[in-house]
């Protein structure tokens, strides 16, 4: 059973991030000057050399960010044995106290078809074509509260939401040092909407009273996909998965645009570098032809058995009906990020101490991380970073590490933002204890051009 649980967990993660290549947020790479991934986080931050990324081989990675899914939040050692947080030996305060108010999970995947960057004079140009997936989920803490302290009361699960975007991104970016101490960069992105799913629940609650147990669910789900065909579906009709029908052809009609803007300022003779960027500030206008909006309404109640009829008095009603908003287009912002960083260099920029604030703005939430890093650049072609990400549920002991070999002709990147220093055992495996997020990425590309010092 235990193996099954762990296996399921891994599989879930794999499903979510399958196919990911380039991690959206490689916090550890932000201050790594040889990494071309950093431009994704701030168009003003350029690698030391131009590059050409090889499709498929340019990077493999997976990323799941949560603020709650770590071993130490769910497993406890009590009386010499390991128990789950739902064990009676673990008090409710102890278990629930470790969980945040809203459980958040996000998974970002980017599949890079092609990307490249090169310098032309002071201008650094870069372009690429990606398929990006952004998914996020918010879950109310009351889910665990119910399990742990199930009793009479009201459980509010309104903070549950699920969003996902898959879109194609074609970008052109440019970075230019407008001043000696100020570099600005931008990327213009043309977006092709592929799939948008947004499920929002404005009512999701449950109550348990001596008189009844009931729950309500109310929300909407927006689906926009190229295989959606609302033939014969009218508002009020029961939602039918037949709307996803390849026989109707694949229609790509949702387009949008986004922009990355960034800047880096150098102070104190380049000892202090302060940067800020907003990425993926844009929208996609999702086509009405491929839009299906369903109203979800559900309710259940259980009042007990009606002894008059010997029948349980319960009700369960769930409906998913086509909304009036179906077949009408809508414009939606894509998840954007705000990265603000500062690094102080010493030893002639061989060692830098950075602080990065990374905030992801999802539809349902904002997810912030604060990463402190120690960045080592002993050689022009070698970089390494040791980091620790805060405010994401990570505890002390979870470090990030990355290193990058960026010599002429080769760019090799390996990094993990969440490396736990404390592990527990599962059979022969060591399982991180504290880390609530996980990512790992590997990138392989070709450097072109000469070295540009930072």
């Amino acid at each position: 059973m235990k193996r099954k649980i762990v296996s399921l967990l891994f599989a879930f993660v794999a499903l979510v991030v399958a196919g990911s290549v380039t991690a959206q947020t490689l916090n550890s790479s932000y201050f790594m000057e040889g990494s071309y991934f950093r431009t994704d986080m701030n168009p003003a931050l350029t690698p030391t050399r131009g590059y050409v990324a090889i499709p498929i081989l340019s990077g493999v990675g997976a990323e799941v960010n949560t603020n709650f899914m770590s071993v130490d939040k769910f497993f406890f050692k009590k009386d010499g044995q390991v128990v789950t947080g739902l064990n009676s030996l673990v008090s409710a305060d102890e278990f629930l106290g470790r969980l945040p108010k809203t459980e958040k999970m996000s998974a970002n995947v980017s599949f890079n078809f092609i990307s490249a960057g090169f310098y032309r004079g002071k201008m650094y140009w870069n372009f690429g074509v990606n398929i990006r997936e952004q998914a996020d989920m918010a879950l109310s803490k009351d889910v665990f509260t119910v399990l742990k302290t199930f009793g009479n009361g009201t459980y509010d699960l309104n903070r549950t939401a699920l969003n996902a975007n898959v879109y194609g991104e074609t970008y052109v970016g440019a970075t230019y040092p407008v001043l000696e101490w100020l570099t600005v960069g931008a990327r213009l992105k043309f977006l092709t909407g592929i799939v948008n799913i947004a499920a929002n629940f404005d009512q999701m609650s449950a109550s348990v009273t001596p008189e009844n147990i009931k729950g309500d669910l109310s929300g909407t789900i927006n689906i926009n996909a190229p295989v959606v065909a609302l033939t014969n579906m009218r508002p009020g009709d029961t939602f039918n998965f037949d709307i996803f029908n390849l026989a109707n052809g694949v229609k790509l009609g949702s387009f949008g645009a986004a922009i990355d803007l960034g800047a880096e300022a150098e102070f104190l003779d380049k000892s202090l570098r302060v940067s800020a960027a907003v990425t993926d500030l844009g929208f996609i206008k999702w086509s009405r032809k491929t839009t299906a909006v369903a109203d979800i309404d559900g309710a259940f109640y259980f009042n007990g058995v009606d002894f008059a009829t010997a029948e349980p008095d319960y009700g369960f009603d769930a409906s998913m009906t086509m909304s009036e908003a179906s077949n009408s287009g809508y414009t939606k912002m894509i998840n954007c990020s705000l990265n603000v960083g500062a690094e102080y260099n010493i030893l002639n920029n061989r060692i830098g101490f950075g602080l990065l604030s990374h905030t992801e703005f999802y539809n349902s939430m904002a997810y912030s991380e604060l990463t402190v890093s120690a960045n080592f650049r002993p050689l022009n072609w070698l970089s390494a970073t040791l980091s620790h990400t805060l405010l994401s549920g990570n505890k002390a002991g979870v470090f990030g590490f990355a290193f990058n070999i960026h010599c002429p002709g080769l760019n090799l990147f390996l990094g993990m933002d969440y490396i736990d220093t404390r592990y527990v055992k599962y059979e022969n495996m060591s399982v991180p204890r504290m880390a609530s997020s996980v990512n790992a990425y590997f990138g392989l590309g070709f450097n072109i051009g000469k070295y540009v010092a930072k």
Binding site: M1, G151, N152, L379, I419, R422
Partner: protein, 800 residues
């Protein structure tokens, strides 16, 4: 360079540090306990409910309870059982009465009717005064010869009155008056005495040349009816006629028949009829003379000769004279048998309409034609209550108990309506089922008033003594009623199956809080006041519970009525109930009988009753029993057990649910623990019953299991309402004691013993009504959550 090396080393160390890090080998996820406790606080969840439902709704939705009924006005419940109307036959009451023939015979002498009358003779001859006429011119004397014819030569006349003897008729006392005396020809015997009238021409016969004779005759003494020889009738005592004298005849002779004299005189003191008679005639003749010799020596002579012989008489019979005056001195004994022993004395036996007897009088047929004129007055025995029929010729004088009929009718036999056989005073007492009657009628035979008859018809050829029989033929009558002292008594017993009034629930009833009512409707088919007694004995499971019998006696039921020829049984409605309920029923149509009906239900609801009835009529007083072909004493009954409860009454039910081992065994395979579990029953109850429960879980050996139910002090009762109106709120708490919270012990449970007790709330009985209601909320209280080991569900056990 140094810096670079330093940096590389630092990186390497950090890398190595990071790679090795810290592995808590004691923290093994593969050995983690999958025991989870869901919910740790006190949780109360709903299990079920019963929204406010009236008792009426509850009972209507469930399986119908046979025998449960509801008063439409008050809504009060009761167990009711109604017995089908039944009846038993009352036998032995006679419906017919056979009266034997009642005949009384006696002999009487034939009365004398003969009239004696002397014949009245009339014999006279008188010479005619002649007027010779022309012959006078010849100075005829002596004899003379007339040479020639001379018309109307001679005339003569004569006027004479004859006074014969009186017609004297001696009349017997039976004859009141003579209407007419009929004469007869003494020679031929035919009716009508001839009065010979002859004109003898004597010495003139030689010269009779024809002529004419005229006579005018008058009789006196009465109204003579005469007839001449030609059959011409002459009334008014006057006869006048002309006769032709034929030439050469020597005489002219004719007869005048005197048929009768109609009497206008009364009988004298000797009871005789004395009629002076006289006959006056005026005669003249004229004679043609023809040649011949005549003489005047013998002048023509007119002769009158008659013998008025009594032939018959039309008489008025005397009503006052009894032809027969018979008073019985010895009565005949008439026996009516087959009188039931229950009829102690007979005051009267009333017969159906159209009952009639045929009275006859025989032996009087010699009266012949006089039969219609002869009246027979028969005074019948007083016990025969008669009435005359319509359209009859006889007369019944009820006051004299006398029948007046003609002899002619009696000879044929007359029907007279017989109403009843009645006796004076207190009636007569049958002996050995027989009723002895004396039949001694008085008979008076006399002529009817103004009876007029010919005496000859009263004169049979030879009659001396005659034997007369009067009486009544034997007849069978349909009895309408019998009056008298009647003592019918009946006992009747019946077993009644009530069935299980509690719907198979096998309730144990303690105390006498239930106050049942038994209603009995009895119909009395007898028109006799009767007293009724009854006893009712309950049966439970076939066992007769004699100790719980209830009874009553000496209740008087009114007699049945007799309306338009039909017996309408009287009805009596009895209510048997506790004395405390008297006020409810008094003043109505019911007769209230106080008795401890609750005894019938002591211990258990009966499933059968034995009903014993005894009915007795009052034999001390005279009453009238109307008779029918069949008598059915009908009765019906109902048993109502109003469901009204008081604190003296408790109804218990014990039950056992078995075969539960498989039900809970499923749980025993899993490692499931619970905290404290309690079943809460929150009730609002406006029924006047409190409900207590006790239960015990048993294993297959009948021993209590380790897991068992515990009811805290005062926690096992759902309260009832004091007044049946206001709802009582209460909470029943049943705690499941689970050692160590381990539910697997439930797998040992094979049976649940439970005892329910329903008890009234207050000392006063409060009825259960359909409007009372119960609402229940069943909740499960779990304190401490449910602990499950996921490993046990997956087939893997927790590694210890």
């Amino acid at each position: 360079m140094k810096l670079q090396k330093l940096t590389i080393r630092i990186i390497a160390v950090l890398f190595a540090f990071s790679a090795v890090a810290c592995v808590d080998k004691d923290f093994r996820l593969d050995e983690a306990s999958m025991e989870m406790t869901l919910g740790q606080g006190k949780t109360i969840i709903p299990l079920g409910y019963l929204k406010e439902q009236t008792i009426g709704d509850l009972l209507n939705t469930g399986q119908a309870i046979e025998g449960l009924s509801i008063d439409p006005d008050t809504g009060e419940y009761s167990f009711s059982f109604k017995g089908d109307a039944a009846s038993f036959g009352v036998e032995g009451i006679p419906t017919s009465l056979g009266i034997p023939a009642m005949v009384n015979s006696f002999s009487v002498a034939y009365p004398e009717f003969n009239l004696s009358a002397k014949s009245v003779e009339i014999h006279q001859g008188k010479e005619m005064k002649l007027n010779m006429g022309v012959l006078d011119k010849f100075g005829v004397s002596g004899s003379y010869r007339v040479p020639f014819k001379v018309e109307n030569a001679i005339t003569g006349n004569l006027t004479e009155t004859i006074t014969p003897e009186h017609l004297y008729v001696q009349v017997p006392e039976q004859i009141e008056d003579i209407v007419a005396v009929f004469f007869k020809d003494i020679e031929s015997g035919h009716q009508g005495a001839p009065l010979h009238l002859k004109l003898d021409l004597n010495d003139l016969k030689g010269i009779n040349g024809g002529g004419e004779l005229n006579i005018d005759l008058k009789l006196a003494g009465g109204n003579f009816i005469m007839a001449d020889g030609d059959g011409n009738r002459y009334d008014d005592n006057h006869f006048a006629k002309s006769y032709k004298i034929k030439e050469g005849d020597e005489f002219v002779e004719f007869v005048l028949y005197i048929d009768r004299i109609v009497n206008d005189k009364t009988l004298d003191s000797n009871h005789a009829l004395d009629i002076p008679l006289s006959l006056t005639y005026d005669l003249d003749f004229s004679l043609d003379v023809m040649p011949g010799e005549f003489s005047l020596a013998n002048l023509p002579k007119f002769n009158v000769d008659a013998d008025l012989e009594y032939g018959d008489a039309d008489v008025m019979l005397s009503k006052s004279v009894m032809l027969v005056d018979y008073h019985s001195t010895e009565a005949n004994d008439v026996v009516i048998d087959s009188i039931p022993a229950e009829i102690v004395s007979v005051k009267s036996i009333n017969l159906k309409d159209n009952s009639r007897i045929q009275l006859f009088a025989r032996g009087l047929d010699w009266f012949g034609d006089a039969a219609d004129l002869i009246e027979v007055d028969i005074t019948l025995p007083g016990y025969l209550s008669l009435h005359s029929l319509e359209g009859v010729t006889y007369e019944y004088v009820e006051s004299a108990h006398q029948l007046k009929a003609t002899l002619a009718d009696l000879e044929k036999g007359i029907d007279i309506g017989l109403d009843a056989i009645e006796f004076e005073g207190d009636g007569v007492r049958p002996e050995g089922g027989k009723l002895h009657l004396d039949f001694a009628p008085d008979i008076e035979v006399h002529f009817a008033k103004d009876a007029e008859i010919m005496v000859s018809s009263l004169m049979p050829e030879s009659v001396e003594n005659i034997v007369i029989s009067t009486g009544i033929d034997a007849m069978e009558f349909t009895i309408e009623s019998v009056s008298g002292c009647i003592a019918y008594g009946y006992d009747y017993s019946q077993k009644v199956q009530l069935g299980d009034l509690t719907g198979g629930m096998g309730l144990e009833i303690n105390g006498e809080g239930l106050s049942p009512i038994i209603r009995i409707e009895i119909g009395n088919p007898l028109s006799l006041e009767a007293t009724i007694g009854a006893s009712i004995t309950p049966m439970v499971g076939g066992e007769v519970r004699s100790e719980n019998v209830i009874s009553f006696d000496n209740l008087t039921i009114a007699p049945a009525e007799y309306v338009n020829g039909e017996i309408v049984p009287s009805k009596m409605y009895l209510v048997l109930a506790d004395e405390s309920r008297r006020e409810e029923f008094e003043g109505g149509d019911y007769t209230f009988v106080a008795c401890s009906v609750g005894k019938l239900l002591a211990g258990a609801m009966p499933d059968g009753l034995i009903l014993d009835f005894s009915v007795d009529t009052n034999s001390e007083e005279v009453s009238t029993l109307y008779v029918a072909e069949e008598f059915e004493l009908s009765y019906s009954y109902s048993l109502d057990v109003p469901l009204a409860f008081n604190s003296d009454l408790s109804i218990g039910y014990s039950g056992r649910a078995e075969g539960l081992k498989n039900t809970f065994e499923l749980l025993s395979g899993y490692d499931i623990k619970i905290g404290d579990l309690a079943l809460l029953v929150n009730a609002v109850n406006s029924a006047p019953l409190q409900f207590a429960i006790n239960a015990q879980l048993l294993d297959a050996n009948g021993e209590p299991t380790s897991i068992n139910l515990h009811i805290p002090e005062g926690g096992g009762i759902i309260k009832g309402s004091d007044d049946g109106v206001k709802g009582a709120e209460s909470q029943m708490r049943l705690e499941l004691k689970v050692p160590s919270g381990d539910l697997s012990g439930l797998g040992d449970v094979d049976a649940i013993n439970f005892d329910f007790e329903l008890k009234g709330v207050t000392k006063d009985s409060v009825p259960l009504k359909d409007s009372q209601s119960v609402s229940v909320m069943l909740q499960l209280e779990l304190d401490g959550g449910v602990t499950i080991d996921l490993g046990s569900f997956a087939g893997a056990s927790r590694i210890e």
